[in-house]
Structures are given as structure tokens and as C-alpha cells.
Amino acid sequence: MSAPSGSLASLSEQLADAVARSAESVVAVHARPRLPSSGVHWRDGVVVTTEATVKRLDGITVTLPDGARIDATLIGRDPGTDLAVLRIPTGRLPVARSGDPGTLRPGHLVLALARLGDDGPRVALGTVSATGGPWRCWKGGEIDRRLQSDVTLYPGFGGGPLVDVDGRVHGVNSGGLSRPFATTVTAATVDRVAGELLERGYVARGWLGIAMHPVRFNPGARERLGLSRDAGLVVLSVEPDAPAGRAGVLVGDVVFAIDGQPVESPEQVVDLLGGGAVGRVLALDLVRGGARSRADVTVGERPRRAG
């Protein structure tokens, strides 16, 4: 017998313990042809997975850690954050033990878990590569924290949890958002999106119904109008029967502030339309025909694509 390897063996034991604890809440999701994806039992009777791996609306099943394969109902999906929510019977398996992604620092060891069938859990190991504050992913959704790791998300790992060495779940891994590092949709965002999907079946996004482009005022106009900055956003189009149009916004208006805050890029406006913006009134300060004006726009709900 060789001598035990001390700390390496104990680290290995700790990782296997973390997997044993957290894998009890990881299921296989059969919602596409061939290879399943993974899902996390986020609340009792609620499984969260990745939106992009849900390819059918009916006939979805999940494989539980005990090997049982049961029916699941699609509650809703949010392409913006790549999350989808399924309903299963309550009381079938433990709820994932959530961690605080704010405690993870670059260099921390993390595990990606998956389940592909009625055999054991699947695991990949890596380190946290980057952390940070709120960001908007390329699919358009807002995520409360940046959490990227060098864990390899093998086929079927999408929708599985990112787990720390104590077995706490910090979020749901998205293959679709991973470019090139593995991207985790962090726990608070999973909570928020799951809550909205359970409440109304989709995530409402704010909508003004206008297209805008950055412009600059010339020094003379700026001085005459008494503007503190020279930047604004010119309205290129106004959609009929949309919030901005109803509030009287016209093509050619130049918006220079919203709620008193200067705006100079369309992204700033998009940021104002995130979670909870629907129904809020935004005060648009604008220039029309050489004079200052104002429009109060009640943020609407962005029309959703059919299907």
C-alpha cells in the first residue's frame, strides 16, 4: 500500500462530500432530442434549467437522483437570462442549498454538477475566473452579479448548478451565455426570474417603442438652450400605439435627460427599462424645434414574440 497523500486526499474527500450534498437537488431534464440537460430543484416543486435546452413544450420529463423519471410541466421561460422553470410534484427531493455568490473570489475552487440519466451525478472542477457587479448578458437579460469560471461545461451540463467546496449552490450554469468561460446565472437572479415566471409565466421587460441614436448639440444651441452637456439621443422612429408615442414623443425630438439624469447612449435607456420598470413614469427632457420640452412616458411592456 502506498502512503496516503494527506492534504490532496482530504481535499478530494471534501469535494466528493460537496458533490454528494448538492447532487441530491440536481435532476436530468429531458426536453430536447437525444442528450438531456440538467436542472436544479430551486424551490420545492420548482426546477430551474437553461432556456436554450428546452426544445419542446409538452412531454417534458425529469430524472430524479433516485433514478425515478417523472413528468414535469413547463411554467415559463426567459431567453434573456437563459432560464426556464418547470413544475414537478412537491416533496420529491431536497431543495438546493443556496450560497452567497458575493463570497466567491477569483481563484476559489468550484464544481459544475450535472445529471444525464439514472446513473450518478456528473462533475467538473475549476476555479472562479472573474466576479463583478450587475451586467447585461448578450441575450439581453440583466444578471445581478458576474460569475465566470474555467469549469468545462460538458454536453448536458447546461442548467446544472455551480457549487462551492462546501456544497452550496451559487447559481445555474448556462452553456449559451458561456463565451468562452463558463457563465453562471447567479442565485439572486435565478430567484427573481423564477419568481416572475411562476407569477405570470414570463419576464416582463420595459418598453418605450422608440428608436434612438446619439447626437451632439453644437455649442451655440447648447448655450441658447442652457444645457449642461452637449450629448443627447435623437428619436429616429416612434412606433404606433406605443408608450412614447402616446406621451407625445415625435420623430426628431432629441432626448437629453431622463428623470433628470443626462443620457447619451441608447444602452443607458435600456438599463432604465430593466426589472420592475413596467408601469413606472419616466420624465423625458427633450429639445423639439429649437426649444426645450418634456414628455412623461409610462413604461409599457415589451411585446413578446409569438410562440
Binding site: 481535499l11 478530494s12 442528450l35 446513473d119 472542477l125 468545462t152 454536453p155 448536458g156
Partner: protein, 192 residues
């Protein structure tokens, strides 16, 4: 100790890892098995005469004495093997998912490179990954550990340095190895 990570366990296993090649090929790895023979993949030991580079750097000529292409295993005899420390075979069935494992081989010709990953399980490959059915159904040590051409025939070991499998292929990025127990029973059955 912690800073050394896998270095200590890896250095023990390394003493039982050889480099095998045929002709001008980049070749693969082999594991010095108890009994003084090198176990490798059948797709590495493709000819009877094979060049064996021992852990101390010396090069000897070996002979392929057994091949089982269906399980992708082979055994090679060579002078000097009896003096080498054999690896200690381990039972993959006792390793838990998420445990640390490491592979040793010669990826892209780099001698005795170590890669670290985690154990998934031992058993058939999941359906839907696109592996031919007869291969899929066999028992495989499956691990998320990075392999490259040149790792074939090399060991996958647990955190205590016990060899739980002989690396055979990469499927969907996953390392697949023939379980050590199966290596042992097939080779014992074939042994002259």
C-alpha cells in the same frame, strides 16, 4: 503540502509510466502493471516490436505479447520492467463522484504531463453523445480530466495515487478509461 497539490501522488505514479512508440509515431503511454509488464491500449501497441522509453529516460525495445482490440487493451514485455515500481491498481467503484483524479501521459509528445480533474463515475457512457452502441455499453471510468493524443494507455489515478483506469479515449471532452479491475482480469485471463 497543499501547495504541492497533486505533485506528491503524481510523482509516485510517474515512476510506473512509460512512453511507447512504433516507428515515427508520437506514440502513447503505458503503465507498469504488477507482474512486470506494461499495460497500454491496443491502438498504441499496433505492432509486435515497440520502442519503450522508461521513466529514467533509457530506451529499450519491447514486444507486444497480448492485444484485445475489442477492449482496446494490450500488454508489452520489455527488459528492465521487473526493476520498476509497478503502479498500485485501485477500485474505481469505490471512488465517489467529485473526487480528485489525475492523468499522466505524453500529450502532444510532452513527457509525463499531469492533468487534474474530477471523477464522474464508472459504467456505460450516457446515450445521446454519439458513441457506437457496443463501445457505449462497456464499463468506462469517466472523468472530467483533460486528455490529448499521447495520453492513450496512460493511467488515471485517484488522490491516493491508485490507478483506477487506463486512458483510452476522449468523448465529448470527457476522459474515458478502461477500469483497472477489468484490465487486471482480462490480462490475468490472457497471461501465458
Amino acid at each position: 503540502m497543499t501547495a504541492a497539490f497533486a505533485a506528491e501522488a503524481a510523482s509516485r505514479v510517474r515512476g510506473g509510466v512509460v512512453h511507447l512508440r512504433v516507428g515515427d509515431s508520437a506514440g502513447g503511454a503505458g503503465v507498469v502493471w504488477p507482474g512486470g509488464v506494461v499495460v497500454t491500449n491496443a491502438h498504441v501497441a499496433i505492432e509486435r516490436r515497440i520502442i519503450v522509453r522508461l521513466p529514467d529516460g533509457s530506451v529499450v525495445e519491447g514486444e507486444t505479447i497480448w492485444r484485445d482490440p475489442a477492449r482496446d487493451l494490450a500488454a508489452v514485455a520489455a527488459p528492465g520492467l521487473a526493476a520498476l515500481p509497478p503502479v498500485e491498481p485501485g477500485d474505481a467503484g469505490r471512488v465517489r463522484p467529485g473526487s480528485l483524479v489525475f492523468a499522466i501521459g505524453h500529450p502532444w509528445g510532452i513527457q509525463d504531463a499531469v492533468s487534474v480533474g474530477v471523477f464522474h463515475g464508472v459504467g456505460p457512457i450516457p446515450t445521446g453523445i454519439g458513441v457506437p452502441e457496443p463501445i457505449r455499453r462497456q464499463a468506462w471510468v469517466q472523468a472530467a480530466v483533460r486528455l490529448a493524443p499521447g495520453n492513450s494507455g496512460g493511467p488515471i489515478a485517484d488522490a491516493d495515487g491508485r490507478v483506477i483506469g487506463v486512458s483510452a479515449m476522449i468523448v465529448a471532452g470527457l476522459a474515458l478509461a478502461v477500469p483497472a479491475g477489468e484490465v487486471e482480469s482480462l490480462w490475468r485471463g490472457a497471461r501465458p
